[in-house]
Amino acid sequence: MKFQTPAGHNPIDRMSVVGQPLDRIDGPLKTTGTAPYAYEQHDAAPDAAYGHVVGAGIAKGRIRRLDIKAAERAPGVLAVITADTAGPLEVGPHNTVPLLGGPEIRHYHQAVALVVAESFEAARAAAGRVRIEYEAHAGAYDLEAARTTATAPEANAQMGEPDTQVGDFLGAFADAPVRLDETYTTPDQSHMMMEPHASIARWDDGTLTLWTSTQMVEWCARGIAKTLRMDRSKVHVISPYIGGGFGGKLFLRADALLAALGARATGRPVKVALHRPLIANNSTHRPATIQRVRLGATRDGVITAIGHESWSGDQPGGGPETAVSQTRLLYAGANRLTAMRLAVLDLPEGNSMRAPGEAPGMMALEIAMDEMAEKLRLDPVEFRIRNDTQVDPENPERPFSARPLITCLQTGAAQFGWQRRDARPGRVKDGQWLVGLGMAAAFRNNLPMTSGARVRLDGDGRITVETDMTDIGTGSYTIIAQTAAEMMGVRMDQVEVRLGDSTYPVSAGSGGQFGANNATSGVYAACIGLREEVARRLGFNSQDADFADGQVRSGNRSAPLASAAARGEIVAEDRIEYGDLHKTHQQSTFGSHFVEVAVDGATGEVRVRRMLAVCAAGRILNPKSARSQVIGAMTMGVGAALMEHLKVDTRRGFFVNHDLASYEVPVHADIPHQEVIFLDETDPMSSPMKAKGVGELGICGVAAAVANAIYNATGVRVRDYPITLDTYLDRLPDVA
């Protein structure tokens, strides 16, 4: 189905199942521990051997000598795989650096060996017997130091051009009566999802079956096929349950490749999980940024010049953190400049993490907006309202498909009690605590992606959906079932959803908050096909047939849906493909974040007290799972604001705090009362579902809202994340 014109009235508009806050259908499996995650596919691979990964102990250089003899002789060892023994390997389409290093080492903890043994313990013990001598080379590990060497990255579809300019930014900025020019930094961050990267591989006659934890089944399948130089059709990827990904599991990683190599070498299924201390340096991370924001405005708060430049680093051949993307679209302003610069760093590979680009970009831009509002003596909500735009400000002929940013801001302000905020910082005390309120806008684009599905109707009137879409904890199973139930007029318990299998039609996958809208639209397309076939078999005109309560009705005639399949299952398959509505119309999601913090007047410890997010993201397919996405994102935003930080040892070139004891994320005690409001909205330009995404919108702006609240509480402005107490302790007001 090609989606080329705005969606008209369609069966989803009934909202009898779609849009209901239903419990997730996979919930009982997960809460009882019976959902098989990749490492727990015991039935599929009962005789699996265990692989343990050895990571490089230097950041850059060469292996001089790799001695695996002692490891090979260790009890229970079946094989030791290294670059020498693995056979020829290519680099997958999404990978920047080879997943199995040696002799050249490109980053710390790049995998250099896999030890396969009868038990996990034997594999780990033998891995400790691998002896490696290195020749370490000097590398570049410090973004600040490498900043001057950064160059403009090549344009691509995802980020667009590295530089954009509208009007005369420099002139307008110089002439602006009120100006802000500040630099902000965001650190490297790790996804730290609960489930580590994990895979089981099995070979049968040259065909590889991979049970793995991946957000994008097809990307993983193509990645392993390319890396192992085999035919894509000889790869079967299975990934029904995923314990979080946040962008860390978008494509082939070392666990899957090494499991496949280990299984090939031993003739046994092999399972590999990356051990936690390896993940931060072995896998991908969100790259650090340095961002300069310049704003110029008239005295009454109209932005005349808006400039945002971002510097980040990556391995040779890698890409930039696209931290300026929201600034191209979020606020009006006749004179504009954005630029991204990329330095070569020898740190581990940078890549996507929840809301790549916008999450760190909004961390900077939305503090800048707060600072500018203060200079203008304007309320920060009002300042943003004054600079709203209903068209793409770089291409004014492109309107937004829907843009209720102002409603988000006003609703949030009213619900949160924003009018009680004292604009003068450091004025509100509660015992030992300094209390402050902060806010930020939220913004993240909607990404249309082709997505396929197959639907089956059997003689009992049951619907089965098959798509390689994944559920990374987001609720995909449930919203897909809701879509099929709505389309076919059956109950939820009459729908079975099968996900995460590369023999199913290729879906959008999970990432970039594009999963929900595109995957359900693919199911919608397949259901339209199924409805047509059902109508044909029952002798209805599909245009005016109504599917409800297990019946198909037209005029005063009706027939049970099941009867259409009385003589055999009916199968329909289709995919959603997009025309150019997203080119003629900018499609984005909007929101506002409001935060109350208390800062200990003596120690500077920050405690978030209340949070509110207001989101406009098109149709909300399931308010319960959507809310869960947003509160998770808000929590991650608090982490970004206050603690998450991969600390680079710039001498040795690695992330030092590479475990969950030292890479801190919020715990329950850090997370206060959280509220989420969804605006009642549909976006007919986005898809037949009229939905967009929420999972990333929920993080964009949160950290800045926290930073702004800390400023309001204390009068201390911190422009370097995370805002830990040591960064401002000496600037706190004296204790009483």
Partner: protein, 317 residues
């Protein structure tokens, strides 16, 4: 983890004798030792499990103190009514540490002997004098934000991470040990943990195979018992700094610090400054501190935290 043998002795004497053999190590709750064994930072070839020993009671001593068995769990110790009433600083320090699940497993002796949280200590690809004596210290000049500001050496700048130990130091507790040959000793907390010097791998005054049998608390110290732990998140994190204090009316009292040194940090002479306030006390307590750029904030943080404690105490009078 390397393969090891395991035994469960029936008496403290047997345990101490077994632990004195080369390559042997005692194990209690295992919450620290097992993690370190998995990473091959500790590589015992023989484990002596003390859990069967009847060392898990808290009893009153003849002179009005408490004798805490080495195996009393952190949870039970924190919840003991006498501890909560008379040694509240200890109870508060314990509950500020780790998580409920860990405190259920963690023992009094194990807590005292838990090893540093220096991140380089945990990465066996990096030089570390504490882990591999003589290999060098990769933390110096690297990520030092959590590390020591005082009492450190050119060989090691690690801190001791225990919260409980800081309270025991302010309470002047003593550690009772039993050697493989059957001799018992009582080691004052002040002498129990060592500064790193040239031998950061030697962390305590224990000799090889010494079994801790109990921790002895002297008679309760009157005053307001405070344990204030400052950290980067609200719970489940090690201290940036912590302050254990007992403040009497009139502002006299005792104070010990966590998160600043290789041992709980207490300078008795500094306590005479308490009545003059946090600035004077901190200046004496941390005299000679040599922080790095990344952890110099700990000095300010100690002073501000102590100041809040003292003003709270004044307010409560």
């Amino acid at each position: 983890m390397i393969p090891f043998t395991y035994e469960r002795p029936g008496s403290p004497a047997e345990a101490a004798a077994a632990a004195a053999k080369p390559g042997a190590k005692l194990i209690a709750g295992g919450t620290n030792l097992l993690d370190l064994m998995k990473l091959e930072i500790e590589t015992p070839v023989h484990l002596v499990d003390v859990n069967g020993l009847a060392l898990d009671t808290i009893e009153a001593t003849g002179d009005g103190g408490l004798r805490i068995g080495a195996l009393v769990s952190n949870t039970d110790l924190a919840a003991d009514a006498r501890v909560r009433r008379d040694y509240a600083v200890l109870s508060r320090a314990l509950v500020s540490g780790a998580s409920g699940q860990l405190r259920n497993k963690a023992t009094t002796a194990g807590n005292l002997l838990q090893r540093t949280r220096c991140p380089y200590f945990y990465d066996t690809a990096q030089p570390c004098n504490k882990r591999s004596p003589g290999s060098g210290c990769s933390a110096i000049g690297g990520m030092t934000r959590q590390l020591a500001i005082i009492g450190a050496s050119e060989a090691c700048i690690a801190t001791h991470p225990s919260d409980m130990a800081v309270a025991l130091r302010v309470l002047d507790a003593e550690i009772e040990t039993l050697s493989g040959e059957g001799t018992t000793r009582r080691i004052p907390m002040a002498e129990f943990h060592r500064l790193p010097g040239d031998t950061p791998e030697i962390e305590t005054a224990l000799n090889a195979g010494n079994l801790i049998t109990a921790v002895i608390l002297p008679r309760p110290v009157p005053g307001r018992h405070v344990y204030r732990k400052v950290r980067d998140r609200a719970s489940y994190a090690f201290a940036l700094v912590s302050v254990a204090a007992i403040i009497e009316d009139g502002g006299r009292g005792r104070v010990a610090l966590g998160g600043v040194a290789h041992k709980p940090w207490r300078v008795e002479a500094a306590e005479s400054e308490l009545a003059r306030g946090a600035r004077a006390t901190t200046a004496r307590l941390l005299e000679g501190a040599r922080p790095s750029r990344d952890n110099a904030f700990k000095i300010t943080l100690v002073e501000r935290t102590l100041d809040a404690i003292l003003s709270d105490a004044r307010g409560a009078q």
